[in-house]
């Protein structure tokens, strides 16, 4: 699960929500159905906050927020698949996915509010999975608004990649000890076939570039030209 730097992005610009607006939205919130959202059952925290729903036993889809508060900013999406499903992906796709073994075993990932033994039951599964994360809002750069192109995020894969001060900050905030968790998670195993050599960007960094292209005309409107 990719993590971001801590700097506080500037506040989102705009006027405070008007009473009329929030009244209407309280009403729509009560009238409308929220089935896809109600499926979200889990808060998984690395440094970014993942709110995950299962598509099935082998796939999860997560919304990524920058905090766990009501005013959290929605900054990205992560898809998580089992090793099994990962193996079915075309080779060109595999570098876009990252392994989770290190983030689980190092104690970096945890579920705020959930007792350790229960957490570990699920983390045993997560350790074997691969994830694909896109961030659409670079709050780590200090962007007050979502600007530019999405970022493809990697994961921490070994010691020394995470700044110790970030780790300490997390430990303090959630009252956890990564060192102790690391020991308790010693027994957890990563992917059965080992981390795939094509995963984690084949060891390289990846970024997205936006290219301007001619847009294709819709079939309907092209036809209209000849009418």
């Amino acid at each position: 699960m990719a993590t971001t730097g801590t700097p506080e992005a500037a506040k989102i610009p705009g006027e405070p929500t008007k009473t009329g607006t929030s009244l209407v939205e309280t009403a729509t919130g009560a009238i409308q159905g929220f089935a896809p959202i109600n499926k979200i059952h889990q808060h998984l925290c690395g440094e970014a906050h993942h709110y995950c729903a299962h598509q099935n036993e082998e796939m999860r889809q997560c919304l990524i927020y920058d905090s766990q508060d009501a005013d959290a900013r929605l900054i990205g999406i992560e898809y998580i698949v089992s090793e099994n499903l990962f193996m079915t992906l075309p080779d060109s796709e595999k570098p876009l996915w990252h392994s989770h073994e290190y983030e689980v075993k190092s104690g970096l990932l945890f579920m705020p509010g959930v007792p350790g033994p229960v957490q570990r039951q699920d983390l045993e599964k997560v350790a074997k999975t691969y994830g694909k994360t896109f961030h659409f809002w670079q709050i780590d750069k200090g962007d007050a608004l979502p600007l530019g192109v999405p970022q493809i995020m990697g994961a921490f894969t070994r010691d020394g990649q995470l700044y110790p001060e970030i780790a300490h900050g997390l430990e303090k905030k959630y009252g956890v000890s990564m060192e102790k968790e690391r020991e308790k998670r010693e027994y957890i195993k990563g992917p059965e076939h080992g981390i795939h050599p094509l995963a984690n960007g084949k060891g390289k960094g990846l970024k997205l570039e936006l290219r301007e292209v001619d847009c294709k005309q819709p079939v309907e409107s092209v036809a209209r030209v000849f009418v």
Binding site: G154, K207, C215, P218
Partner: protein, 291 residues
């Protein structure tokens, strides 16, 4: 649609045992070619109805997501974490909007979208975007919506990535299912002046059963050229919800067109150009960014 059963006692429904738990699930039926799963069962069952009452499945071209069905253990684990965790950010979603979007680089590719909106302030909304409104919905992207006030402060290069909302709303394409038109009229009035930036990260439209590739920038429907929506797409949505976009359009006649839509938005309209994201290898940042 498979058979409904209780999670706790594993009894098929209606449950013959006095099981006090309300956790239930649908046993998956063998895979079929049909992607429509929202059909009503012939056996009346109140829980089943409860489950599908709010589930009007959208048509999507991708088959079911591959993978084993949820195990009992995982269900219980999920319920447990859900009860213990606060999930505050996702509980702020207050609106469901059903509308349409077009791939910026290939506007023949058009999709129905379901946006779940959270308001940060009067000028900014963030939306989780799904391919349907059911519990099986796939999370296909994120849209950000800003007011014209904010939009005008963005650099021109950034403005090119955004689309306008005026037509979509005025034409009745933008719908808040189950919300009486009069109730959200003032809000629609404000939204006609807004701009959106939508990234689609799971291309179910080309049949991807898993999210492959990278996100695509999406554009909004417009009344001309590449922006014209396939009418079948709209009809199928309208039919599913039991309303007519044309009726909404008539109801919205009184909403004024914005006086000014920034020409940098809807970039394709003046340039016939779209945007396409590609992956490039880069120097790996070995450590997390930190000031």
């Amino acid at each position: 649609m498979g058979e409904l059963y209780h999670l706790a006692c594993q009894c098929p429904c209606p449950c013959p045992c006095p099981c006090p738990f309300l956790y239930f699930n649908i046993k998956p039926s063998p895979p079929t070619n049909s992607t429509q799963t929202g059909t009503r069962s012939t056996t009346p069952n109140y829980m089943y109805n409860k489950l599908i009452r709010y589930s009007i499945m959208a048509t999507t071209t991708a088959g079911p997501t591959p993978g084993k069905p949820m195990s009992l253990g995982q269900h219980i684990l999920d319920k447990g974490t859900e009860m213990l965790q606060s999930l505050k950010p996702v509980k702020q979603m207050q609106q469901h909007v059903c509308t349409f979007a077009l791939y910026s680089h290939d506007m023949n590719r058009q999709i129905e979208t379901h946006h779940y909106l959270t308001r940060a302030n009067e000028d900014f909304l963030q939306c989780a975007v799904y391919d349907s409104d059911t519990a099986h919905a796939r999370l296909i992207g994120i849209e950000y919506i800003v007011s014209d006030r904010i939009f005008e402060t963005l650099p021109p290069e950034e403005q090119k990535l955004w689309h306008s909302h005026a037509y979509e709303i005025k034409a009745g394409l933008w719908a808040n299912p189950r919300v009486p038109e009069a109730l959200h009229r003032p809000q629609l009035r404000n939204l006609t002046k807004s701009y959106g930036k939508l990234w689609c990260s799971w291309h179910t439209n080309r049949g991807d059963v898993l999210p492959l590739g990278v996100p695509s920038l999406m554009m909004s429907p417009q009344p001309m050229g590449s922006g014209i929506l396939n009418s079948e797409l709209v009809k199928s949505r309208d039919k599913r919800y039991g309303f007519d976009s044309d009726d909404l359009k008539k109801l919205r006649v009184e909403i004024e067109e914005p006086e000014w839509i920034n020409p940098n938005a809807d970039y394709w309209r003046n340039t016939s150009k779209g945007f396409f994201a590609e992956v490039e290898e880069t120097q790996m940042t070995r450590r997390a960014l930190h000031p």
